[in-house]
Amino acid sequence: MGYNKKLVLLLSLSVLSIVLFVFWDIGEYWDYALPRRLEKAWAIVMTGAAIATSTVIFQTITNNRILTPSLIGFDSLYVLLQTAIVFFLGGGTLVMMNNQFHFLLSVGLMVVFALLLFLFIFKREGKNIYFLLLIGIILGTFFSSISDFLQVLIDPNEFLIVQDAMFASFNNTNTELLLLGGVLLLCATLYLLRYAKYLDVLSLGKEEAVNLGVDYDGVVKRLLGIIAVYVAVATALVGPITFLGLIVANVAHEVFKTYRHNYLIPGAIFVSIFSLLTGQWFVEHIFTFSTTISVIINFIGGIYFIYLLIKENDAW
């Protein structure tokens, strides 16, 4: 099957899942249900696209198919930020704080963190992407430990507020942030388009990219900044979904078996939208809200991760 055919197939699957999600069992009060379901579907599409794109780019930069942005501590930084706000300013602040301001603050801090991580490591010579990852993993663990520590100290009622922000759930999506998140994603994507032509070359590795005239450090720095925006928006909208990126990026690689990002990225986006929407449909209609989608995704993703580790045991 040709690449375009596969892409069309995946696109139709994701459109089908949108239709299923929006219109299944809509009932007679559809004028109430429809706008709410559409809002939710829109949040899922945005989140899915952001996670898929950021993971594919991240895996290309690191030339590794097991790493994801959440592994270098992006998710845990988000949780730490929320915990710190509650701890230092009180639970009321997070609830009362202007949503848009809070959102921009989180996104901004995460981009700054990504760039600091990059500058700190790349300005020192002889250090490479693996060193960056090692530092990222250690920082990620560090952030979650600090968050745990702060969460133990705070008032149980305030802990509930933090917990609400910590678990991915489309049942309490921040619909207020849909427009702002959409604008941020659009800006990041427009910026990404300028650097998209380098992605294929970067998948050949650093030395080939330098040889072929790519300003490696500059391009990687900008791509990491773009990834930070994507991850921040997705996490702020629904909370951390650790394994989703890993699954969709690898499925896209398996389906297309190519290095070309003009197929890989849309493919991963469609897989992501499809799996999130069908997953959420299961949560709502089969499990009747007794679980959240992050549980399902992490269950399937965890199994897939172990499978990848076993299968690729000697390939890396």
Partner: protein, 252 residues
């Protein structure tokens, strides 16, 4: 002409390359020889801007290499490192097409496709052009990478141990191809090479490194001699003339 002036590199207080000055002549094959750890690969990486240098300068046609625009430099100088363990699914033809990236930024025109065809033909890869790289043997893979460098069409081509892990037949094929690129296409080739006899039979100019310093530099006739090689490698050589080539005997 590439002028390397007084270039140094220090890793953790060890001077891996220590004040090396070398002149690489246009239209010749220059070989860097020396023992393991002598600094050959580090020197090549600095000349090709893959790693930054601590001191000194590298002038490509009179201008410092790091002040070139990345894209312009990629049209004049190409480099191939020894570890090409690529992880993406890519066919030989797609890999060779990447050689045109500095010119096209990804959009191939008809003349680019013609050049890609010629490069594949030059390295005798027509039979494999649609095969995936990870399905090929080491020799075929190496030829595919060299075809990419040919498609890149640069005046200067720097190769780090192109014969690494290749058998005699494939080594000879690669060296013959490099010789033809110099003689027929007017390229300038710089290689890091361990096999002293291949260096002797195919290069015009040899640079010998030892403990990060350039100890000898000269034409192949000057360099392939018992005295010079003993000094460079700290072992005994017996240079014989066989069929007009200088062959070093050092196995027993």
């Amino acid at each position: 002409m590439v002028n390397v002036n007084n270039v140094s590199k220090t890793y953790q207080e060890v001077k891996v390359v220590d004040g090396v000055s070398v002149h690489i002549k246009k239209g010749k094959i220059t070989s860097f020889i020396g023992s393991n750890g002598a600094g050959k690969s580090t020197l090549l990486s600095m000349v090709s801007r893959l790693i930054p240098k601590d001191e000194g300068s590298v002038l490509l046609d009179g201008e410092e290499i790091t002040s070139y625009d990345n894209r312009e430099l990629a049209k004049r100088l190409s480099v191939l490192k020894q570890s090409n363990n690529i992880k993406v699914r890519i066919t030989v033809r797609e890999l060779v097409s990447f050689g045109r990236f500095p010119y096209t930024q990804g959009k191939l025109k008809d003349e680019d496709k013609k050049l890609i065809d010629e490069s594949i033909h030059y390295m005798n890869l027509e039979a494999f052009e649609d095969r995936f790289l990870d399905e090929l043997s080491g020799g075929q893979k190496q030829r595919a990478y060299i075809a990419m460098v040919i498609a890149q069409d640069t005046d200067y081509i720097l190769l780090d141990e192109p014969l690494n892990n290749l058998d005699m037949k494939h080594s000879k094929q690669i060296m013959k191809a490099l010789r033809r690129m110099v003689d027929e296409l007017g390229k300038t080739v710089v290689i890091v090479i361990h096999d002293i006899n291949f260096a002797s039979c195919y290069s015009d100019h040899i640079v010998a490194l030892k403990d990060g310093k350039c100890v000898y530099e000269g034409t192949t006739e000057e360099m392939i001699s018992n005295d010079v090689l003993r000094e460079v490698y700290d072992m005994e050589f017996n240079v014989c003339k066989i069929d007009g080539n200088r062959i070093c005997v050092f196995f027993t």
